[in-house]
Symmetry: C2
Subunit: 404 residues, 2 copies
Amino acid sequence: MKSSNRGVELSESPIRSLIPYARAAVAAGKEILHLNIGQPDIRTPKKALQKVLSIPDDVIAYGSSEGMESLRKRVAQYYEKFDIEISYENILVTTGASEAIQFSLFSCFDPGDEIIIPEPFYANYLGYTQMSGIHIVPVSTSFEQEFELPSTEAFYDAISPKTKAIFLCNPSNPTGKLYSKASLERLAKLVKDQNLFLIVDEVYREFCYDESFYSVLNIESIRDNVIVIDSISKVFSSCGARIGYVVTRNDDIIQAMVRYAQLRLCPPHFGQVLAEACYDECDEYLPEVKQEYSERRLYLYERLSQMEGVRTYKPTAAFYNVVVLPVDDAERFCKWMLTDFVYDGHTVMMAPCDGFYIDKSLGKKQVRIAYVLSKDKLAKAMDCLEAGLQAYNTSEHLVEVDAI
Amino acid sequence: MKSSNRGVELSESPIRSLIPYARAAVAAGKEILHLNIGQPDIRTPKKALQKVLSIPDDVIAYGSSEGMESLRKRVAQYYEKFDIEISYENILVTTGASEAIQFSLFSCFDPGDEIIIPEPFYANYLGYTQMSGIHIVPVSTSFEQEFELPSTEAFYDAISPKTKAIFLCNPSNPTGKLYSKASLERLAKLVKDQNLFLIVDEVYREFCYDESFYSVLNIESIRDNVIVIDSISKVFSSCGARIGYVVTRNDDIIQAMVRYAQLRLCPPHFGQVLAEACYDECDEYLPEVKQEYSERRLYLYERLSQMEGVRTYKPTAAFYNVVVLPVDDAERFCKWMLTDFVYDGHTVMMAPCDGFYIDKSLGKKQVRIAYVLSKDKLAKAMDCLEAGLQAYNTSEHLVEVDAI
């Protein structure tokens, strides 16, 4: 009894192949400094957590498929901060941004349709497009241009009669790039002109360090084309609560999404209570969190800039950056760090970037680093990475590689 | 900007079309007695809820995609109660049974494959088969035979080269039927012989009133074919927690499911904590709950048996039964109860059964009644239904209908 072909072919996370090595490293007594996943180490807002813990309900019942009305209204109010005027009826609560992506793809696309995504992109987008039977047409962005949004011409070139949407992550995972108002407005013209959906994952919106965030929900001319993905996971360090949102003013899309939402009955109750309480903590909680990430970002930039042969840039948003390493193959190096290297009792785990590209070769020497560790741990991680790079490039490993 | 065809065509819940009428009824001041949905009114185990409320975590982080190991081990231990020996590695925690169904279908079927399901069946199965691009081949069960499992011949007749699985709900939603060990073992022979998956939704396993429950996980000959769907929603009145399970000893299927599980990152954290704590309350909590449902079941049976023209049977499990009403059209009657009828300030909402059939005509005079109300409310609901039936059949409405 074999599984389906699609079940076998579903893409796995870029770090999936490293996990057995990470387990072995832990078993061998190494401490791993995890720079490989977007799991913030910052505390979930304490007062919000206490709200969950005082739930008076005695039946944890099905809620509305659309999400708790009070939460949807609270989110609509929160968006005012970004000058977005939106009714709560245009906001659906989802089980994480993951489900918001799934609803968006199933509601906008039929099997065989195409979606344009700048690469590198968050690897799970690939899994969800596979699950919904649609094809990604990548448009490349480059390290050299600090992952700036591709030109309008590049997007035009990618369009076919099957194209239904352009999908962005802004600020970007994995690059830490914030797209400017001007470049989004340029893209909006194309979207309007070609009658496409513009789906934007804005889950890192709160972490913009140099310029302010501009949401595509603000672009009046494409009101009907825009779908925004959001989540409390990163903003409020609440990944395990599984609460996200999908936001659109397009009635047809809302109606289709509600059908998918009804199919899975409702989003998680406790997480919704947490989410609603989180928004009350914005003013107190978020400035501190943003400051912390920004300091880590600058520290990382400084350390990476000083490493021989390492090429980096100062990311402007989110808590990631993409780094070009002076190695033959970043995935092999990441594996080697787990299997063959230890520095003062620990090693570093990073995400090789090939998994973030359709054209894997583009990411061959790149890793994504998530700065989700405290500064003292980041310092250790950078010491370890620096020593690892030196050791790797002078180790017998290279001889072996050359011999292949 | 229109939604996808599949987004428009996705089946809706059988009660969906009644919801606007229910809202209008409430707005008009009527109290609705809800017999239409499987939302238990029983309290969530109190001690288990208190455990959630004392979560010490300060970062609500991503958990394992497979679910918390401690919870998976606890569920494996719970299954011993049903003489099921299973490793926790064969149990994945899902976001409700809904997600367990989704994972099962995507992992076993490719688009265009067929699945055999006895009808009437839980309406959301239809949505999930549509979402995964597979076709339901229904095998009918009948009120006259108290919805007994179809004969082996009927299943054989439904098999085509595209058939990948048989899907059951045992005990059954909507019929309240418990399938016997003997009939499941007969089916197992066919499953083995034809090399099919046997997917069984066992979420109502704890509510069997006359005979004891027998799980397909006990049938040794089809170890590799069986996939079981489970959930805490009904057993522990925790629908809003969104915690389910998928259980299989088939390694290929587990691997495919883990890929889908990784794609959505992890199941909800708080719900998992609640679930684990619920299993500690089994002995104290479940006997009382089962007793309560059984008493309601017998009361309903008695009342329905006494109503003129109503045909019913004594359901043996779950908290549903299917009732044949002396009306022209059950959906029209259910709507009429909301729009045109009031009895002592209230009315009754039921689920018309046509939505539980592929061949809608089979359910035309049937409704599903969920006994998820306290006995005093059930008494009111039965008084109201009885009066409603009399009024409906003597009202001008019928004249109108005949005139069409």
